[in-house]
């Protein structure tokens, strides 16, 4: 019996199977090399056309088509005319895991497709679909990363509208903090000091996320603008104005904002409040938390005209406490609310503490209560407390008007500024040294001495420098050109950058300079 034809046929089949395995390996390596859909699928089809000696291959999905091979055969694949030998045409269809349909058509006019070829074409289609899927997933993850990055940036920019430094106004202790529940928050606070009166606003825009944060910046800007509006005669006028400015904007966005507007006058402790739906608001008077109710619904619900305002006078140590609902509505792991009772009980306990202590303790209590449960809402707290500034007067220092005597300035500053951080003391010393040095160098002092006075009022340090020299003439001072190094003229330039205020007056036969430093500023020593 002659077995050679069967052996030959088996050998051919084995070779064909082996070729197909090698072809599959080749294809699979293509798909991992790139995440670009067009480039990857084109590469797969190019190799497949070569491996199977096809005229052309067309892969179609719901969203794209990829063709490779002899362009003149594209029409045959598209139209499949009646005269076309069907054995030379292979059509493979599949549905992927996401329900998308895909089809591969291949044409090889010189020889019919075998069963093995058709299986290999099926593998080609799966490989191409895998590459398309990977590429789309990659594109989607890149898009998501861009959106997430944009959200984060928008949130960060929105939070920048909240003031960081406390108001520079003697007669009050200030605490303010806002923690957004997500990256972006709708809570806000802002203030401005105009004519020695503190104007402030605390609010909570409905909703969360970037939309709330964007609207929060609008409300903050409107409140800031109202503080400067000379036509307003108190928080109620300002509330009406803010409502007028933002009502349409809020309504169009289907949002609203609670808003407490107020003013505090340290001179006599007068506190005025006009409240559009904001809570919790308490006035701590003589250790007793007294709630302050809303006068009108939140801004954006209805137009606000002629809202009321309430007036009270804070005594020494009394404080206004303005929270946001995120402070009282925080839930514990056992679904219990923090609640206003707990909030007011804490206020009573903390009533004799300073504003900073009250604020920090309230945040800590709410945080402890949550016991690791994420914040339900943004948490914001502002505390404004009446505190008469303590005035500390330093002994006057009189020194000879010479360079060596300038060395006595630092030990003198330390007699009343010993608690000031070293870097801040450094900037005060340099500015006072430069000011006194200017007197020594330029004033032709008649009695040969310079007198220095020092005073601390709250967070403000005021140093006076007095001499009996010739009158200072500002016209004789030329500011140095920063691009041209010169051998004099830097003293005033340095003082103006280090101090918060510098003033000069001529009093009788004396020059009197006064330099002021606000200790909340320039803490970086710059």
């Amino acid at each position: 019996m002659d077995l050679s034809p069967e052996l030959s046929s088996m050998a051919e089949a084995l070779v064909a199977t082996n070729d197909q395995l090698l072809a599959l390996y080749d294809l699979s390596s293509v798909s991992t090399n790139s995440l670009d859909e067009d480039a990857t699928v084109d590469e797969i089809l190019t190799r497949s056309v070569e491996l199977l000696s096809c005229d052309s291959i067309l892969v179609s999905t719901n969203e794209s088509e990829h063709f490779n091979g002899d362009r003149s055969t594209r029409q045959l694949l598209d139209n499949q005319p009646e005269g076309l030998d069907r054995s030379c045409l292979a059509i493979v269809q599949t549905t992927n895991a996401f329900g998308s349909e895909a089809e591969l058509r291949a044409l090889r006019q010189k020889s019919p497709f075998t069963t093995g070829d058709r299986k290999l074409l099926s593998a080609v289609l799966q490989t191409a679909l895998g590459a398309i899927h990977n590429s789309r997933l990659h594109r989607q993850s890149v898009r998501q990363a861009i959106v997430a990055h944009d959200h984060k940036t928008a949130a960060r920019v929105a939070q920048l509208v909240l003031p960081e430094a406390p108001p520079a106004l003697p007669g009050l202790e200030w605490f303010a903090r806002s923690d957004p529940a997500q990256a972006a928050g709708g809570d806000f606070f802002t203030y401005a000091v105009v004519d020695d009166i503190l104007h402030f606003a605390v609010g909570d825009v409905s909703g969360k996320g970037v939309a709330a944060a964007m609207m929060m910046t609008t409300a903050t800007t409107a409140a800031n603008a109202s503080f400067r509006d000379r036509g307003c005669d108190g928080p109620a006028d300002r509330l009406e104005l803010v409502s007028e400015w933002t009502y349409d904007h809020l309504t169009n966005a289907n949002m609203f904002t609670t808003l407490l507007l107020g003013s505090y006058r340290p001179e006599d402790g007068q506190l005025l409040l006009s409240n559009a739906g904001h809570s919790p608001v308490y006035v701590l008077r003589q250790g007793e938390p007294v709630p302050s109710e809303a006068h009108v619904p939140p801004v954006g619900v209805l137009p606000i005209t002629g809202p009321d305002q309430v007036e009270c006078f804070l005594a020494e140590g009394d404080a206004l406490i303005v929270g946001s609902d995120g402070m009282v509505e925080q839930e514990s792991p056992s679904d219990e609310w923090f609640g206003e009772d707990r909030f007011t009980a804490l206020l009573s306990e903390l009533s004799h503490k300073e504003a900073g202590h009250i604020g920090a303790a309230l945040f800590a209590e709410v945080d402890d209560f949550s016991d690791g449960r994420s914040a339900n809402d943004d948490r914001t707290l502002v505390v404004i407390q009446r505190k008469t500034p303590t005035v500390k007067q330093a002994d006057e220092l009189t020194i000879k008007a010479d360079h060596e005597s300038l060395r006595k300035i630092k030990p003198w500053l330390l007699t009343f500024l010993s608690e000031v951080p070293e870097q801040e003391l450094g900037r005060i010393e340099l500015a006072v040294h430069e000011l006194t040095n200017n007197c020594v160098d330029h004033a032709s002092i008649a009695d040969g001495v310079v007198a220095l006075t020092g005073q601390i009022e709250g967070d403000t340090v005021v140093i006076g420098v007095k001499d009996s020299g010739v009158e200072f003439n500002e016209a004789e001072v030329t500011s140095p050109d920063p691009d041209v190094p010169q051998v004099r003229g830097y003293g005033l330039m340095i003082i103006e950058q280090l101090a918060d205020e510098l003033s000069y007056s001529r009093q009788g036969e004396h020059n009197l300079w006064q330099v002021t430093f606000n200790r909340n500023h320039h803490l970086d020593g710059s």
Partner: protein, 102 residues
């Protein structure tokens, strides 16, 4: 202020190390040291300021004067290892760009 000098004859460079307060009261001493070094042919002076605790505008002006004079003679006055007070005053006066600082 303590001023110490180290001379490197081979390349005509001298290093002047300042320690303590460099203010209006000390500028004469610094100028004397620079005069001596120039007279001895040292064209480039490196001023090491790592231990300077305080510097005022008069001392700064003295450094500017010294730098201009050294450059006129084909050399330079280079500031090295600035302490924080020195860095701050150079930035306030924007003279950090006028000096070569190493």
């Amino acid at each position: 202020m303590i001023i110490s000098t180290e001379r490197t004859e081979s390349d005509g460079t001298a290093t002047v190390t300042l320690e303590g307060r460099f203010d209006a009261h000390e500028t004469a001493d610094f100028r004397r040291v620079q005069d001596e070094l120039e007279a001895d042919g040292f064209e480039t002076i490196i001023v090491n300021m790592t231990q300077v605790e305080f510097v005022d505008s008069t001392a700064l002006a003295e450094l500017v004067r010294g730098m201009k004079r050294a450059r006129e003679r084909g050399g330079d006055l280079i500031l090295a290892d600035l302490s924080n007070p020195v860095r701050v005053i150079l930035e306030l006066t924007r003279l950090d760009s006028a000096f070569q600082i190493v």
